[in-house]
């Protein structure tokens, strides 16, 4: 069941493969009779133009690669789907790739696994500038989420604003000792914009967050991580009355661990998440979360990519979007 190749067409037409290629690429200086013979041979052997070969010749495939680290995090599944639909609305086709680890992310950024696409929109799990070794990208590349570098066009989520809003909401409603449930990170201590927002809200209230209440599970982004971290915190016996989860997944795990240990939510402890996933509205109790403005992020990312496809050659640009609190029962103020 071998598929016909260029060589088969050449053999049937009695010409070189180079000539077949010249005909298919509509290059000049091919005799009309030769051209007719080649096209007849193409028909006869059922040869179909190979998109990879065509991409080499013309430099354009008409496809955009959307790259996400995984699909089990609802945020990435939702963002990927929104990107694909937005690209389709603008007349572009897309292909979705998954880059779960540092090496696959690097391969996608550097084009090793995305060579068939004209451009790339990536939701990074690691670092796009690292993957590029500090050099500007060789072709249209837009980063959605993560930190700005000045190297690559980046849409920055309102992470600081969002985390600050969730923390402020807990402090405004009378909670005073807030735990932070974090992703496992190599550095150990939390860093980044969500952490900065958490600290800034404390400072605005004249408070300092307690590092003893900052905990992480053993993995990234999983409900089980939030469960582990919260179980560990409860074992310390330290008092706390609020929990800021770095995302909905760990907040849901923490929620479950609290209930399992007989802690009432929201009566004893208030809980917030981040991402406003589908899950948040249907937990018991429903989870207060932060909604990143995903639709706006996606629209800006596609705008930036189209400008690059149109030939824009400036240094990497940064656009920031907002985030807003979605209050639900998990953080209701305790009755006096």
């Amino acid at each position: 069941m071998r598929r016909p190749t260029l060589d088969d067409v050449a053999a049937v037409a009695g010409v070189s493969a180079k000539t077949v290629s010249n005909v298919l690429l509509e290059r000049p200086h091919v005799a009309a009779a030769t051209r007719a013979r080649v096209l007849a041979a193409v028909e006869q052997v059922g040869y179909r133009v190979n998109r990879a070969g065509r991409g080499l010749a013309s430099g354009r495939s008409g496809r955009i690669a959307v790259v996400v680290p995984n699909l089990h995090q609802p945020y990435f599944a939702e963002t990927a789907e929104r990107l694909i639909l937005e690209l389709a609305d603008r007349g572009l086709t897309s292909t979705l790739r998954i880059a779960p680890d540092r090496q696959t992310e690097r391969d996608a950024v550097r084009g090793r696994t995305t060579a068939d696409a004209d451009g790339v929109i990536i939701c990074p799990h690691f670092s796009v500038p690292d993957a590029l070794d500090g050099a500007p990208p060789a072709r249209p590349l837009v980063q959605l989420g993560g930190g700005a570098s000045g190297l690559v066009d980046t849409v920055v989520m309102g992470e600081r604003e969002g985390a600050e809003a969730a923390t402020r909401h807990l402090l405004d409603t009378g909670r005073r000792r807030l735990a932070l449930v974090w992703n496992a990170s190599p550095a150990g201590a939390p860093t980044g914009e969500r952490y900065e927002g958490f600290v800034a809200a404390h400072h605005a209230h004249g408070l300092e967050p307690d590092p003893a209440l900052m905990v992480a599970g053993s993995d990234w982004d999983r409900r089980a991580s939030g469960y582990e971290a919260m179980t560990g915190l409860l074992r310390t016996g330290l008092p706390f009355d609020g929990v800021v989860g770095v995302n909905d997944a760990v907040a849901v795990g923490a929620l479950r661990a609290l209930r399992r240990h007989g802690v009432r939510v929201p009566e004893d402890v208030a809980v917030t998440g981040f991402d406003d996933t589908d899950e948040a509205g249907f937990t018991v109790p429903p989870l207060t979360s932060v909604s990143p403005e995903t639709a706006e992020m996606v629209s800006i990312a596609v705008d930036m990519l189209l400008e690059r496809l149109g030939g824009l050659a400036t240094a990497g640009r940064t656009r920031r979007t907002g985030a807003h609190l979605v209050p639900r029962a998990s953080s209701a103020a305790p009755a006096d």
Binding site: M1, R2, R3, P4, T5, L6, R48, V49, N50, R51, A52, G53, G55, L56, R63, N70, L71, H72, P74, A77, E78, A80, E81, I84, L85, A88, T93, T95, L96, R97, I98, P100, T104, R112, T113, A115, D116, R222, R223, A224, Y227, V252, G253, L255, R256, R259, D278, E279, G281, F282, T283, V284, P286
Partner: protein, 320 residues
Amino acid sequence: MLPMRVTMRDVAARAGVSLKTVSRVVNGEPHIRPETRDAVQVAIADLGWTPNAAARSLRTGRTGVVGIVVTELRRPLLAALVETLVTEADARGLQAAVEPVHRDDDRLAEIWAQRGVTFDGLLAVDLPRLPEPSGADGVPVVRVDVTEVSGHPGCDRVAADLEQAAELLARHLAVMGRRRPVQLGAGPLVARDDMPLVDLGGTPDRAAGYRAAQRAVVGHPGVDALVCATDEVALGALAGLHAAGLAVPEDVAVTGYGALDDGWFATPSLTTVDPEPATLARRAVDVLARRLAGGEEPAVDVRVPVTLLRRESTLGPGAR
């Protein structure tokens, strides 16, 4: 001085095999001993050699890309299956391109037109209908069904065993003394005559489950179990019953299908059926790889056994 570019010759030397053998491994040709294949792949990884994909594809008429066609990614059960399919494809050196089609027949037709052009083969995930042709012309299509019931003649298929799922759930509920179960959404569970059905009316998501659960308890007085089409529907049902002041499982037991992480962390934790996506993915990519290697045996229909996970939403508090 620039580092020397690694060539296929370097790979052959390091693996202690001929150039021809390296080429056969890279092109995924059959009849290569596993230890030889491993030696070549280790040498490729050690040297960081990249076969020139475009040049390779011109020679072989192959792109090395398989398309994974799926309705939508916002259903976590489908997203989980797609993720494991990508991992399986990757483990065999196949590049995966995921293509959501959103019940858009034009989009599906476009993807079908790319068979043999962009895609060497397709994995069709839970699609109710496939365009023709579906696999008889040298560009293989393998159906991978986790909730979809209908078959497709002449097309390879790897599917979760839904009849077994329905059996396991029915028996579990019967043993636990539930006499008046209602199905929430026809979904994957084969409709049973002895079980009334409440329609979800649209996308089978949490919001639909929330509303349908409340309709079920009003419309079927005495209902003591809700057998939900998917975990998403069941998780919505848990919230809907909670809001209606009903206790799970004391008043109404709830079951799902799909074994999402969310179910383990729900309150109460959700009794569900695990359709074993990793096994589905491995078997499906096996079938696709055999077809890509030229296998011409008649279409296969593989049923993957499912597992019942018994948790609090049927057993009561204290169960896992």
